[in-house]
Symmetry: C2
């Protein structure tokens, strides 16, 4: 289980997901933009502008080199070489009833012998469908349970805490799972790799369920307007609070690739009005909702 | 020259500017939303959705109370009462040829005897008109020159450095002036107050010139699309780099009032294409352009 194996597995994951998404979208095709990092390594940014998916990015990267000073100091590791590889996805659909979805799997190691995995999947519906949110969480739980009984509750809480828009006192959406620094204290490299790959391989199934349940729903200008305002919140989270984005912007990363997560279009209105349907969603943007068992209530 | 005088002058400035802008817009009227701060003081947020101005905010606030720990520690002042008052403006016009404009004047003092003024005006054209940019800077220079010969060059550079979108390697627009912590080492309270009020009082004239020169220009869908993408950059600056916004979000400020600066609508496209006209503007989003003397070139 070395760098090359993990990198190849992530590249293949990007390929599979892109292929799944093209089938799901029916019309859209990904355009690839390969890039190189001046300090070492590079990536393949793939963007889709489709029929169902208004704007989507499925990015692979594998970068290496001398650790940026900012990070090496924070980690207490000086003059170290690092290697980092990952797949990152954000999809914005046209239909306001289809949620925004985000996935990331990543692996990091240094020449000092440190290594870890991180990742997660989370869902941001513009309108929360409680059954679909429950099913989303149940499937994440199933994958987690295969690997360790404490994973789901731990990583679900981590997502609640991470995807929180502090200045709005709202969660970004219904959460999902989020984990970081899964290292040798948490399992063997093989076990953790298998877990991360299981998460990555679940992605297409999870998104397909959300799309198929909602793609034919008619929507009004009010629904579209609400979607654009909720996308505004997504922008606020990503630019103000997301550590991955901040890290990329601070370390002179590939800006266009980092900011592919931003929506195609968004709106802000001072104290925007909302109706009953929208209020129902707002009331569910809270931490610690037991989505798995909510359906049964 | 006490708190009350400064506060009243800022309130009157808000009134005058709102009245000027309603005349300029012809149709739009400001709606006022008065708010109170739990810790002391409050403000009046005024929003216009007009014919020319698509979304604009002219905010007044005067807040006081115990200094938030985060700031008192940073300033080395513990258990201090503070008083802060200011007027903040951001205007987004419908016509892409009318620039976004921002103004702020502010006064801060503590019970320890510390006080200072800050503020500035800067312009963010979607399409840079070099003559209008030059005129904008010339008028700012005239006001600065009335007070101190070094003000304009110093505060113009400060604006270039402050309104810089580091991750894009672009200035936000053509800059203007920015200044902070003008305290007793820089002049008497009366002199600095007079300078700040002169800056505030110039605002309507500056904006009127930009609006009148551009309001009747026809624009294409390409121009509108470009405007929405440039507004995306404005969002990026305000959420990622603007210290005022960050401070507000960190200290649990009045969120809707702080974020009134965000545009009504914005767009992001992966590696967005642009034509010659747009490229001309991009090439001018640089620090250290001598706008005052540029017209003569």
């Amino acid at each position: 289980m070395n760098q090359t194996v993990i990198k190849s597995a992530f590249m293949a994951l990007q390929d599979r997901i892109c292929s799944d998404l093209e089938i799901l979208d029916v019309e859209g095709k990904f355009k690839e933009d390969a890039w190189e990092r001046p300090g070492g390594g590079g990536g393949k940014t793939r963007i889709i502008i489709g029929k169902t998916i208004e704007k989507g990015g499925v990015n692979f990267s594998a970068v290496e080199g001398l650790m940026p000073e900012k990070i090496s100091t924070a980690l207490g590791l000086e003059k170290t070489q690092f290697f980092a590889t990952g797949v990152s996805i954000v999809l914005h659909a046209k239909n306001p009833f289809i949620p925004i979805i985000h996935m990331n799997v990543r692996y990091f190691e240094t020449t000092h012998g440190t290594w870890w995995f991180g990742g997660g999947i989370d869902l941001t519906p513009h309108y929360i469908d409680e059954e679909l949110a429950s099913s989303f969480h149940q499937q994440l739980k199933n994958v987690c349970d295969k690997h360790a009984s404490h994973y789901y509750s731990e990583f679900k809480k981590w997502a609640d805490d991470y995807f929180y828009i502090k200045h709005r006192k709202e969660t970004r959406g219904v959460g999902g799972i989020f984990f970081d620094r899964l290292d040798k204290t948490k399992g063997t490299k093989e076990d953790l790799f298998n877990f991360v790959m299981d998460v990555g391989n679940l992605f297409s199934t999870l998104y397909k369920e959300q799309v198929d349940a909602n793609r034919d729903k008619a929507f009004s200008p009010i629904n579209k307007d609400w979607q654009l305002h909720r996308r505004g919140r997504y922008v606020e989270f990503n630019l103000v609070w997301d550590r991955g984005t901040k890290f990329g912007l601070d370390t002179d990363g590939n800006i266009e690739s980092i900011l592919m997560s931003l929506p195609p279009e968004s709106r802000w209105t001072y104290k925007h009005d909302f109706d009953e349907e929208e209020e129902k969603t707002l009331n569910l943007l809270k931490k610690d909702i037991d989505w798995v068992n909510r359906k049964a209530r």
